[in-house]
């Protein structure tokens, strides 16, 4: 009797509950640290995609997805690594992150590769990550800075700027980007008067600005962070009258910069990964007042989450070893184009054995070692706000 009961109970369990499960996806971004003002909308973007998929009921026989947040600190390798390990211990099946390039490399080497975990970073842009030995575990929905260097050089040339002074934040991201900008701008015929590093978190940047001013140049390009040294350099330059106009690469684009600097920033320009068109508009209307969908790397975060879930659906598994190879497949042609808000439709198509080409909010097209091909928004600060003037 007892045996019969056990057997029937076991058969009921296997019959009903086995397929629907709760999939955990980790979100590892810098809620503290130099890009903390960007982290909140990024996490919310990713969570929006997960909620959409959970609510649809079409994901892996009605499975739900639960986000798990953790702090990368952006520049704190120790913190990011231990938090990534904690997420793994909590049983995540996929890892969105990390955000800044240095910690992303550290998490990849120390946590993802040893544990066979797949990572999609929405914002790590260092060119070094293109060539890193990643066992095909690392993808990014953000383009490499090598591409940003080309775009920045084009923007500068189109605006008739002949010479620039260049300063970068002293880490993987800053150095990689500065190298790319310098090489591309020189190739295009421009002159780079000085390339110098600055440290984040100092009280006073007058010495750095003194050196930059002495070298001269039409504008100052600041490859730094908008909540950190980048802000300090710009303030100090404006105070001493060293430079009036600034070139602002991705890490410097955000609403807090024009707000903190004030009207003197008007006329400065730059670019950030992102695209126009249908995808971003849809995400904007979905986000509503909850968060700012146009905040940097927020669309990329939504896309990173969506790619994970599509790949899992395609592989019919939440095992990184099985769904990992599917990521490139669902991101690129051929197949039905999928935009934000259509995730249920995409999951349906995949379940029926069809092909999807995920476009998403940031026009995802993964190339080479699994990174975004890179479309950029050209930004100009006008009337105290970042205004998109052009797409490149």
């Amino acid at each position: 009797m007892k045996k019969l009961l056990l057997a029937s109970a076991a058969s009921i369990l296997t019959a009903s509950g086995v397929y629907a499960e709760d999939v955990k996806i980790g979100i590892l971004v810098g809620f503290t640290g130099p890009i903390e003002s960007l982290a909140e909308p990024m996490a919310k973007g990713a969570e929006l995609a997960m909620k959409e998929v959970s609510d649809s009921g079409a994901f892996m026989d009605g499975s739900t997805v639960t986000p798990m947040r953790a702090d990368s600190g952006c520049i704190d390798n120790g913190l990011a690594t231990s938090n990534a390990e904690r997420l793994l211990a909590d049983g995540i099946s996929a890892l969105i992150g990390a955000d800044c390039s240095g910690v992303t490399g550290a998490v990849l080497q120390n946590v993802a590769i040893p544990n066979g975990m797949v990572m999609i970073s929405p914002s790590a842009t260092s060119p070094g990550l293109s060539t890193v030995e990643d066992n095909d575990l690392f993808f990014r929905t953000a383009p490499s800075d090598a591409r940003e260097g080309q775009v920045m050089a084009e923007v500068l040339m189109d605006r008739g700027i002949e010479s620039i002074a260049l300063t970068y934040t002293n880490n993987d991201y800053g150095k990689g980007l500065a190298d790319a900008i310098e090489t591309e701008f020189k190739k295009a015929g421009g002159e780079v008067t000085i390339v110098t590093a600055h440290e984040d978190g100092k009280a006073d940047y007058s010495a750095e600005v003194g050196a930059l001013a002495s070298a001269g140049g039409d504008i100052l390009v600041v490859a730094g962070y908008l909540d950190q040294g980048g802000l300090g350099i710009i303030r100090s330059s404006l105070d001493s009258g060293a430079f009036d106009t600034f070139g602002l690469p991705g890490g410097m684009i955000g609403d807090s910069l024009p707000k903190n600097v004030g009207p003197d920033l008007d006329g400065s320009f730059g670019q950030i990964a992102g695209s126009g068109g249908e995808g971003i508009e849809k995400l904007k209307s979905m986000a509503g007042d909850d968060f700012d969908a146009t905040s940097p790397y927020t669309p990329e975060s939504y896309d990173a989450a969506a790619l994970f879930m599509f790949a899992m659906q395609a592989a019919g598994s939440t095992d990184p070893a099985e769904y990992g190879p599917k990521i490139m497949e669902v991101a690129n042609a051929p197949g039905e184009k999928i935009y934000p808000g259509d995730l249920a439709k995409g999951l349906q198509i995949i379940a029926e054995g069809g092909d999807v080409d995920y476009v998403g909010a940031s026009a995802v097209e993964l190339i080479g070692p699994g990174e975004s091909a890179g479309s950029y928004r050209e930004i100009e600060v006008q009337g105290g706000e970042n205004t998109t003037v052009k797409f490149r």
């Binding site: 110098t196 590093a197 600055h198 978190g201 100092k202 007058s206 010495a207 003194g210 050196a211």
Partner: protein, 336 residues
């Protein structure tokens, strides 16, 4: 015209920031030197005392701003400064009663007091971070510039701009006022004289009826005023972040030691020596030389002796040189 441009560029990037930074260091070094002279130990908690004073001032400033109290073109923080000084006085006197007095009664060696002050430093550091957080805090208001670079260019017609921030002007004026008041106090008042007597020879001072506990208390009260003023000026001019005050400890000690520990005049001189060394050695001279050198001889390179990354190393090197060749410092202080 060329010469004027060179001079303006030099003032803008070297002289004005150097003088402001030097004044801040001098005020900090004066405190260190007074403690060394009268209490006979190197106070490592000095940087964090500055942070504490600045923090109290900032909190009062925010309250005043919320109440709509302002100081016109001057920053509200100047109005809040007396409250910051009072807060720091309470902190320092309590610290002395609870911690330092015990070791004084034990006649502890200076090196033990140094380690004790290190412990006090960590506690103060923790208190400041606990109350106001580790982040940058902005509390400056009022007019930002006395002379702005753009206005100066338009007015003078020169190629180079000259900027003088309100905070820099206030820093220098306040520093002068505080230093004059301190010297008057030490040289002319009875209490000041008894402090100097106690500093010169403790036993002799005791014999002539000077109450040592009174001298110690007065010293801490003066230190509280000095540190708060220095901390607030630094915060106004640069930015308030608890960690940067900890970093300031090295240049401040370098200034005090270069000038000669225990010599107030030396502390001031030392502050400016350190400040100008840091600024001039890391400055790229290309622009200034470009104006001054005859046609064709302008430098192509940056003419920068050291990258700005090594700014703090400069004070360290100066400290080493002074300790090696003239341990008593420029103004014949006590040897370390």
């Amino acid at each position: 015209m060329e010469f004027l441009n060179a001079f303006v560029a030099l003032s803008n990037y070297v002289l004005i920031p150097g003088i402001a930074y030097g004044s801040q260091l001098a005020l900090g070094a004066l405190g260190v030197t007074l403690i060394y002279g009268i209490l006979r130990f190197s106070n490592f908690a000095h940087g964090d005392t500055m942070a504490f004073g600045a923090m109290v001032t900032i909190l009062v400033t925010w309250w005043m701003q919320a109440q709509g109290i302002s100081f016109g073109v001057l920053p509200t923080a100047l109005l809040a400064l007396p409250f910051g000084i009072l807060g720091t006085m309470v902190l320092l006197v309590v610290t002395d009663r609870v911690v330092y007095r015990f070791y004084r009664q034990q006649k502890a060696k200076p090196v033990i007091l140094v380690i004790v002050s290190l412990g006090v430093m960590f506690i103060m550091n923790g208190i400041v971070r606990f109350i106001i957080g580790p982040d940058d805090q902005n509390f400056a208001d009022g007019a930002r510039f006395i002379i702005s670079a753009r206005d100066f260019k338009a007015w003078s017609g020169l190629d180079e701009g000259l900027a003088l921030r309100t905070s820099q002007g206030i820093t220098v004026i306040t520093a002068v006022v505080v230093v004059v008041a301190l010297f008057w106090f030490l040289n002319k008042t009875r209490t000041g004289k008894s402090m100097r007597a106690y500093s010169d020879n403790e036993d002799l001072a005791l014999l002539s009826g000077i109450n040592p506990e009174r001298v110690v208390t007065y010293t801490w009260l003066i230190i509280a005023a000095l540190t708060t003023v220095a901390g607030v000026l630094y915060g106004l001019d640069k930015s308030f972040k608890p960690f940067t005050y900890f970093q300031l400890l090295l240049p401040i000690f370098a200034a005090a030691i270069v000038g000669g520990l225990g010599s107030p005049l030396g502390a001031i001189a030392g502050g400016f020596v350190i400040a100008f060394s840091e600024v001039t050695i890391t400055y790229a001279w290309k622009k200034v030389l470009g104006y001054l050198m005859p046609e064709g001889l302008e430098p192509d390179g940056l003419v920068q002796l050291l990258s700005t990354d090594y700014k703090f190393a400069v004070s360290f090197v100066i400290l080493l040189i002074v300790l090696l060749f003239k341990p008593t410092g420029l103004f014949k202080g006590k040897s370390v």
